[in-house]
Amino acid sequence: MEERSMWFSEAIREALRNEMLRDPNVYMAGEDIGIMGGSFGVTSGMIEEFGPERVIDTPISETAIVGHAVGAAAAGMRPVVELMFSDFMMVCGDELMNQAAKMHFMFGGKAKVPMVVRAAIGAGTRAAAQHSQSPEAMILNFPGLKVAYPSTPRDAKGLLITAIRDDNPVVFLEHKQLYWFMGDVPEGEFTIPFGKADIKRAGKDVTLIAWGAMVGVCLEAAEALAEEGIEAEVVDPRTLAPLDKETILASVKKTGKVVVVQEAPKTGGFAGEIIATIAEEGFDYLDAPIKRVCAPDTPVPFSPVLENAYIPDAQRVVTTAKELF
């Protein structure tokens, strides 16, 4: 399959176009996704190509954006709705966590809710505490939702096509710092199955587990560690629900040492869940305590100085990994 280099945002658009062309039941709705092309430019040109009936600029109504998608999906459509910021999941918590996540189960399997909620996530844009969070752990305690969180343009395209074709509600998290990250992406039909982690860098000495923008941080840390003779393996789960435990445990078995890196605050984060899984199912593989590198337990700050101190960086990952040797 021919591959081209493109931005992460372009890869998402390519996936959206692919599915909009393929299935007339797919439509998009969200704030400013049409005439403005999305707050981050991801959907630019799509209203011109597909028209305002399928690329719908919505009122500022997160509750109705996600809530209407539940009804439309149950009635046979495949909505792909956008929340401008993942922080707004808290504005439509009922629609996402009480309605979308539970409908299939509550109705004894008789309803399907094939919808995707795309949301820009993460810090680094100097947007302060309500536009920069990483609330992925919050939604992972709601069985019924799937959660995809790509770290490369290639994964973004493959996972988004899979998400749109999935018969379940999928939250698709797009880290803002990745939108203008370049990478090779296959042309045409290209899907990546959910629940398949990707080894972003192979290594034998320590396993670094991360998702979203933290994958890049770990790759940078791995290069620095390599200079000191430590070969780190970087495991990117790509989907947090379902989670590929096998690949994680296989890597832990190989290296015996683990650092889990997340951008979210430490307490209640998904890193803790991964660590608990390793402790339950891979304890015998370990030859050192499991470590976490996370944001501190504070809201995301505004000042660049403070925000830089907040976001985990490669140096912290390197320092933490070296503590295991």
Binding site: N25, Y27, E53, I56, T58, P59, S61, T63, A64, V66, G67, H68, A69, V70, G71, A72, A73, A74, A75, G76, M77, P79, D94, E95, N98, Q99, M103, H104, F105, M106, F107, G108, G109, K110, A111, K112, V113, P114, P143, G144, K146, D167, N168
Partner: protein, 319 residues
């Protein structure tokens, strides 16, 4: 207005079916055969019956925690309903939903809902699906006066209006959100006036008069089907029982309870059929006997249905 005898009797049959189902549910709950919460529709039968008399399987409804009446009026199977109330394997939701989550997507029933106001946006989305798929269908959102004060009411109706969607938002104003009287909860007399805020019609009718409901709903549904957009229909009614079974409803003033019981939609419509339409009592009683048989059969079906297999807990989390 429906003057055709068969139509009139069909309306009565639906109302009576809801009445008897609910009376039986009340009895079974008291006998501890139904676990959990049960919110009964007793007294409000004319609303669901009048509105749903215009609907077919291509049309959608969203319902509420007080949803048995809506789903019966939309054609739900009584056996599967009763088995679900019992938490049995053969219930609508295999025992996973219970009274508050009965759904039948093929019949356009997008579920009762445990969240007050949870159905507003879902109905808006179903209406969008009808429009995009050009099915000619409409979406009806049933909810109470209490839910009309949720933010979802505003967002969902505004969106439906902005997008000219085929939806009718039916407020069953039974005067109480659990114990809180609507007079304390908002400052308008008729909730339908809120339609003006969205540039859509808002109509208030006597919700205990099935023909009045049917007539008003018919116009609004027709309008929606023609592509003229959503509307609000407020039906003034009264719940005979408390919020849930076990709630004595002491907060309801005795004089109002008495006055509303005198306007009970069942005997009222029955008298109309017998006295005004001169339909033979024998015919009415025949319908009642038929319904009683169905209710007995539903209880039997539910009783005989096995409990769900504990391992089925892990099924149906994902499609």
């Amino acid at each position: 207005m429906a003057k055709d005898k068969e139509q009139l009797l069909a309306l009565y049959e639906t109302m009576f079916k809801i009445r008897r189902f609910e009376e039986k549910a009340s009895e079974l709950f008291a006998d501890t055969l139904i676990p959990g919460f049960v919110h009964l529709y007793l007294g409000e039968e004319a609303v669901a019956t009048g509105v749903c008399s215009h609907l077919s399987n291509k049309d959608y409804i969203t319902s509420t925690h007080r949803g048995h009446g809506h789903v019966i009026a939309k054609g739900a199977d009584l056996n599967l309903m009763m088995a679900e109330l019992f938490g049995k394997k053969d219930g609508y939701c295999k025992g996973k939903g219970g009274s508050m989550h009965i759904a039948d997507v093929e019949k356009g029933i997008l579920g009762a809902n445990g969240i007050v106001g949870g159905g507003h946006a879902i109905a808006t989305g179903a209406a969008l699906a009808c429009k995009m798929q050009q099915t000619g269908g409409v979406a009806i959102c049933f909810f109470g006066d209490g839910a009309s004060n949720r933010g979802t009411f505003h967002e969902a109706i505004n969106m439906a209006s902005a997008w000219t969607l085929p939806a009718v938002y039916v407020i069953e104003n039974n005067c109480f959100g659990i114990s809180c009287c609507i007079d304390k909860a908002c400052n308008v007399k008729d909730l339908s006036v809120r339609g003006a805020a969205y540039g859509i019609p808002g109509v208030t009718v006597d919700g205990n008069d099935v023909l009045a409901v049917r007539e008003a709903a018919g116009k609004l549904i027709e309008r929606a089907r023609k592509g003229e957009g959503p509307s609000i229909l407020e039906c003034k009614t009264w719940r005979h029982h408390g919020h849930f079974e076990g709630d004595p409803g002491d907060y309801k003033p005795a004089d109002q309870q008495e006055a509303w019981l005198a306007k009970d939609p069942l005997p009222r419509f029955r008298s109309y059929l017998a006295d005004t339409q001169k339909i033979a009592l024998k015919e009415i009683e025949g319908i009642e006997a038929k319904v009683n048989t169905l209710i007995t059969a539903a209880v039997e079906f539910a009783t005989n249905s096995p409990d769900p297999d504990p391992e089925s807990l892990l099924e149906n989390v994902y499609a």
